[in-house]
């Protein structure tokens, strides 16, 4: 198992090289001059040229990339063009907020998605199943930002129960400000998790060992929990892991709507101001996080299914 984890950690290296190269290249060819951005529209061409020279912007892309990666290997993700602050510190400063939001979002998704998925599998083709199927499709199809705006209209504008944006100071205000963005993020995920739980449960329910379990005189609720759900877990864990990874990296829109000071919103601001080191640093950090989540999912498989654990021994 340890060997496996180590192998997976080493496999993250090519992933990171790929991500960094792609992002670096895209940023390099995209229009706009970072030096001009930093100095502003009024700056003279001479001062812009001088800055370009100082920043090494006139070197070939590959040379710049090599320089950048050299710094990264020394743990230096560079400094922001805009704020002149250390990129890693800035990223680490914002990441906990994104993590809090993602965890809250995935919890919402789990609490809604898993029980409803189980219920609609147990009552396949009943009105409960049909209703949740429709709601699930709506949930998947509905754009996050739109749902977010609707929630703000209802709970902030009309009812005035919850703040519409920002992150509250202190535990209770923080949780209050977390509810709407977490609901917004969780709903879409809940729908995917629900659909996967349903189909995976239906698959498990058809298996012969369910007949064996029933023939023992076990109660149906017990069979559902320990025989069906435990066997249905692998695909559910997979989809939860994927969703969580997406939340970590892709909460940008929701963070922007709710002015949540997370990494996603920060990254979008950095892209807008063409703050290359910041975009690169955030992207690489998120890639690492995504890989770590995937690794955790793979390790969880081993706990959900002893057959997979047996494979890891080799």
């Amino acid at each position: 198992m340890y060997k496996y984890v180590l192998k997976r950690l080493l496999m993250m290296i090519p992933v990171l090289i790929g991500v960094s190269f792609l992002v670096f290249f895209i940023l390099a060819v995209s229009p706009g001059d970072p030096a001009r951005m930093i100095l502003g529209e009024q700056a003279t061409q001479e001062s812009v040229d001088a800055l370009r020279d100082e920043m090494g912007l006139d070197d070939p892309v590959l040379v710049r990339y090599a320089h950048y990666m050299g710094d990264v290997l020394h743990g230096d993700l560079g400094t922001s063009y805009k704020t002149k602050l250390d990129v890693l510190m800035q990223v680490l400063d914002r990441f906990p907020n994104t993590l809090i939001l993602s965890v809250a979002g995935i919890l919402v998704a789990l609490v809604i998605g898993v029980p409803i998925g189980i219920l609609s599998a147990k009552r396949q083709y009943s009105w409960v199943d049909n209703l949740t199927t429709v709601l699930g499709l709506v949930g998947v199809a509905m754009p996050n930002f739109w749902l977010g705006l609707l929630l703000v209209m209802l709970f902030s504008l009309h009812l005035g129960w919850l703040p519409s944006s920002g992150m509250g100071e202190g535990l209770v205000p923080m949780i209050k400000s977390l509810i709407l963005p977490a609901l917004t993020l969780g709903t879409g995920c809940a729908a995917s998790i629900m659909r996967m739980t349903r189909s995976s449960m239906l698959e498990a329910m058809r298996q012969d060992y369910i007949d064996t379990a029933r023939s023992k005189g076990l109660k149906e609720s017990y069979i559902t929990k320990y025989h069906m759900f435990k066997n249905a877990l692998i695909p559910i864990i997979t989809v939860i892991g994927l969703q969580f990874g997406m939340l970590l990296g892709g909460a940008a829109l929701t963070e922007t709507i709710f002015a949540w000071p997370g990494l996603g919103r920060f990254m979008i601001e950095s892209i807008k101001s063409k703050d290359m080191p910041m975009v690169l640093g955030s992207a690489m950090f998120l890639a690492v996080m995504y890989s770590v989540v995937n690794l955790i999912v793979d390790i969880l498989y081993a706990y959900a299914d002893p057959r997979i654990k047996a494979q890891y021994k080799h």
């Binding site: 298996q207 007949d211 023939s215 023992k216």
Partner: protein, 329 residues
């Protein structure tokens, strides 16, 4: 109570998109206390459906028991609620399933799977007692109790079937239903498993309903035989009567299609044709399209059950009032 199990006029249907599947059609079957009955028939004859009906394991949708009675010790199982069935399953009646490869939960240790049934039905046992009983069961079926913490994938097919048997017999059921317990196993393992069931029956006095399509297995293990065809029991009687004086043309066909050591045969004689689609059964006798003795009447009238004497029952138009009708052979 003479009969531990008495099935009366049982009708089971599956409602599928392809139509109404008539899996079990007014079956009558009695099982004497302590006896063992072999239920023989081709794949698709409705044997497993019949067995699952006794356990009330037919799931709706798509299947359900339409009518009939299943009397277990005089109590009609069909009229019981699912909650009442919890106390019957695993304790009074147990079932061994066809394929040991899929009959065990892959993510639960075998020890736990045996302990579950003990835990449900023997409430007086504490955790320690349940564990001890579970280990005894493993020992009884010839598995080292130390392997209780292992998962099904660490066991061979024969070992898995032993675990399934241990589960089925853990609470000393009065009736054991074995649904083709050896079909998925190697011949050498088959003999071991059957011997195991036989020994345990001798020890515990369990009645047995053995489902199989192997007449040899029936000959060695059963006192009574029921021949099932297209959802009906076409012949029933003591082993000797059915094997030596088989009356129904289908029974005869079955025996003719087995090679015999004592006769020189160039070619086996299979029964012509295929078993009808249970969603589209013929009128009258279900076997008449394949029957060499069929008369026009066979295609119209459902043959009654006729007792040929000594509980040897046959469902065929050639027998009426216990005597064969002249068929002009």
């Amino acid at each position: 109570m003479d009969n531990i199990l008495e099935i009366k006029d049982l009708v089971v249907r599956y409602e599928t998109e392809d139509g109404l599947v008539k899996a079990v059609n007014s079956v009558n079957l009695a099982l004497k206390q302590g006896a063992s009955v072999g239920l023989v028939g081709e794949t698709g004859a409705g044997k497993t459906t019949l067995a699952k009906s006794v356990m009330r394991l037919i799931q709706w949708p798509p299947g359900r028991i339409i009518s009939g009675e299943i009397l277990f010790e005089g109590k009609d199982l069909v009229s019981l609620t699912q909650e009442q069935m919890y106390n019957i399953r695993g304790k009074e009646i147990s079932m061994i399933f066809q394929d040991p490869m899929t009959a065990l939960n892959p993510v639960m240790t075998v020890g736990k799977q045996i302990a579950e049934v003990i835990g449900v039905h023997e409430a007086h046992l504490d955790e320690e007692g349940t564990k001890k009983k579970m280990e005894e069961m493993l020992q009884m079926v010839g598995i080292d109790p130390q392997r209780a913490e292992e998962y099904p994938h660490q066991f061979s097919g024969g070992m898995k079937q032993r675990v399934v048997i241990a589960i089925a017999l853990a609470c000393n059921p009065k009736l054991l239903i074995a649904d083709e317990p050896t079909t998925a196993l190697d011949v050498t393992i088959q003999a071991q498993v059957l011997e195991l069931i036989r020994n345990l029956r001798d020890k515990l006095g369990t009645s047995l309903l053995l489902i199989t399509h192997d007449l040899g297995v029936v000959a060695q293990n059963c006192e009574y035989v029921a021949i099932m065809y297209a959802g009906e029991i076409v012949e029933y009687g003591e082993l000797r009567d059915v094997f030596h004086r088989g009356a129904h043309p289908y029974t005869k066909g079955l025996f003719d299609s087995i090679p015999k050591l004592t006769e020189k045969v160039d070619r086996l004689r299979p029964i012509e044709g295929m078993m009808p689609d249970p969603a589209n059964l013929p009128e009258g006798c279900k076997f008449h399209p394949r029957c060499q003795y069929a008369t026009p009447e066979c295609g119209q009238v459902q043959p009654p059950e006729v007792d040929l004497g000594g509980g040897h029952i046959v469902r065929c138009m050639r027998y009426s009032g216990g005597k064969p009708i002249q068929s002009g052979e």
